[in-house]
Structure formats: C-alpha cells, structure tokens
C-alpha cells in the first residue's frame, strides 16, 4: 500500500482528532483508534471523533463515508484499505 497515502491519513488523523503526543508516540498504522466493541485495546476515540473522521476524509479525498461504514475505519491501515476499495489511492 502506498506509504505516502498512509502518511497523509495518519498525520491528518493526529491533527483533526487531537491525539496527544504520548498517544501519538505509541501509535502504529495498526493501532485501533475506536472502540470496536471487542476486547482489543484502542485509543478510545468516540462518536464525535468518528464524525470528525468522516468529515476529514471528505475534505481530503472528496469521498463521503456512509455512517454505517464508520466502524470499518478503525485504524490507519483500515482507513487506507477502505479508501482503496472505493477507488481512492492517493
């Protein structure tokens, strides 16, 4: 997957969602950002953050993620894969 593409997603995520420096330091592209309803550790971002994420993706890539798909955007890699599936690669 295009590393530059993922970098854009990662940096936008950090700035739009107010992720603090400590959290950012331990964050990888596989870190789960939202509570996905299972036991996996996550950054604890919430519903308003998810709406912010959808808005961010629209502003960056012009793609409107349906509310029902938000749960698929659970990490940087997951976001990149989701966008790839919808024809957005850069």
């Amino acid at each position: 997957m295009n590393e530059e593409f993922k970098k854009i997603i990662r940096e936008s995520l950090i700035s739009h969602l107010d992720i603090d420096d400590d959290t950012r330091a331990g964050m990888t592209d596989d870190t789960i950002i939202f509570n996905t309803g299972d036991d996996r550790p996550n950054l604890g971002l919430d519903s308003i953050d998810s709406l912010e994420l959808v808005t961010m993706i629209f502003e960056l890539f012009g793609y409107d993620v349906p509310a029902e798909d938000v749960k698929k955007l659970y990490s940087v890699n997951a976001i990149a894969a989701y966008l790839n599936e919808h024809g957005i690669t850069e």
Binding site: N35, S47, I48, T55, F58
Partner: protein, 300 residues
C-alpha cells in the same frame, strides 16, 4: 413534635436560607405557584418544606428540603407522608442533587410505598455567555460536522410537523414514551407534554435516525431529554444534527438556560457530553435525579 402547615409559597425562601435547587428561583416559583407548599416545624422551629406541583396531571413532589440540623428526626418522612395522604392523585416524584441525604430520602420513599424508577444524570447549562460558547463551538467544529451529516442525506423535522408515518416509526422504537407514557426510564416529568416545536426528529431516506425531545416549562428554560439514535447509528455522531436544530429553536424562543437529562450514561452519551455539551455545561452542574413512583395508582 413535628407539625405540618400548608401555606403561601412566598414564605419558604425567607424561612430556609439553605434553599438550593437545580432550577432557577423563577422556575421554582412557577412550580410552586402551580401547586402548593408544605412547611414542617419541629417544636415550633422551621425544619423543612416540600413543594408539590399539580401541572402534570396529578400531584408531583417537585422539591423537598430539610434544614441540616433537623435531619434524621423524621421531618422529611412527615412531609412526604402528608403530601401523599392529601394528594388527589399522586403521580410521582423525582429528587435531584440528593447527595447529602439521598440514602435517607430513598429509605423514606420506599417505606411510604414508592418504588425507584431509575436515576438520571442532569447537566445544567447556563451563564451569560451560554450562546456565545455554543456559537464558538459551532463555528469551529459543529457546522462542519452538521454539513457532513446533511450531505449524507440526514435532515431534521420538528416533532410538530412530523408525518404520521414518522411518528409511527418513533412509537416502534424501544425507548418510545408514547408507547408507555409513564415509562420512568425516559421521563423526568411524568405526564408532561413535550414541546413539539422545539423537539426534533432526524431522518434519512424517510427513516427515523435520531431524535431529541425537549420540554420548555417556561419561555426562558428548557429540559432536553430522550436524546437517542437508532442502534445501527450508535457511535456515528448523528445526534449532533437534531441537537443543534433543537438548540436553535429554544434559542429563538428566548431560552437562557437548560438542562440535559440523560439516563444510562454509556460510552456514546459520555462522548457526546464530553465533546459537544461540555461547552455548554456549567462546571458545577452534574446532578443525579432519583425518580420514584407510587407502587399503585391510588394514594400511598
């Protein structure tokens, strides 16, 4: 010896300087004018009072207060028993911010035949800069997020203008209070009518997605309750749109203060409170309301 006297409401503030309630003085006055006030005296000394409102289709204990150094002497129990015994139709009661004496209060209510219907968290929003704070949030973040929701096809409909088809969808929701008008989990004021032209349904493709019901007991204050989205949309933030619309409506009416009444504080509700409502909520306002209902229809 405890004696109870029913008297003009204007007396209570002079008699009991410890008076404090979730509502403003003006709101308390209005509640009191709509009903009656009972005063308790312990050996001739003012010991407590209780306000009863009858504006919800029956007697509703809206406030009870015992002077701190008179607590533990049966004052509260005497007042509540008197209220219940003299009520034409007792429909319920709720106590807010009962941290100091909640255990005693609960004990008294249960002893007198009431049962606890649940608890709610209530957050008071007020202050001279209330709407400026909200505008600042909306300008910085809220409008962008609402635009996203609108772009995705969500729109709002006032409850007063909702089609029968939409209302029927609402009636079918698990939290519908139309289905059970005395469903204590979702009522702060049993029997009270929602204010339909400030209550908002959120819809997409004709399907009910979220809703916010508000009460305006008077022009300058409102109570927001039943903030909910459909299960499939939990975590999507869609509730922001009807909230923003409902706030705009109460603001148009001149509202200067309001309360968010939320039950079952879960992850999503916490999130919404922390990320959105926090700009409105007064720092000292977190209160828990315990709602009680009589176990049977008749007086206890």
């Amino acid at each position: 010896m405890i004696t109870v006297k029913q008297d003009d409401i204007g007396l209570y503030r002079d008699l009991f300087s410890g008076y404090r309630t979730l509502y403003t003085d003006r709101c308390a006055d209005r509640t009191a004018r709509a009903g009656r006030a009972l005063y308790a005296f312990l050996d001739g000394e003012p010991a407590g009072y209780l306000l009863i409102s009858d504006e919800h289709g029956g007697d509703f204990i809206s406030y009870v207060f015992t002077v701190p150094d008179k607590r533990g002497m049966g004052v509260m129990q005497t007042l509540i028993r008197y209220a219940a015994d003299t009520a034409e139709k007792m429909i319920g009661t709720a106590f807010s911010d009962a941290r100091e004496f909640a255990p005693a209060l609960m004990h008294v209510m249960e002893k007198l035949g009431f049962e606890q219907g649940g608890s709610r968290y209530m957050f008071r929003c007020d202050g001279d800069d209330l709407w400026e704070r909200w505008d600042a949030y909306m300008n910085k973040t809220g409008k962008r997020l609402c635009d996203t929701l609108r772009r995705q096809g969500y729109s709002t409909v006032l409850l007063s203008e909702a089609s029968e088809e939409l209302l029927e969808q609402y009636r079918q929701t698990p939290t519908s209070e139309y289905k059970n008008p005395l469903n204590h989990q979702h009522l702060i004021m049993p029997g009270a009518e929602v204010t339909k032209d400030v209550s908002v349904l959120c819809v997409r493709n004709g399907v009910l997605s979220a809703y916010v019901f508000a009460y305006m007991p008077e022009r300058r204050s409102a109570i927001f309750k039943t903030l909910s989205s459909s299960a499939a949309l939990h975590g999507s933030g869609v509730i922001l749109l009807p909230i923003a619309e409902s706030l705009a409506r109460v603001r148009e009416r001149g509202c200067k203060q309001f309360v968010f009444s939320m039950d079952g504080i879960g992850d999503h509700a916490n999130s919404f409170r922390d990320k959105v409502l926090s700009v409105l909520i007064s720092k000292t306002s977190k209160r828990i309301s315990y709602v009680y209902y009589p176990k049977r229809e008749t007086n206890v």
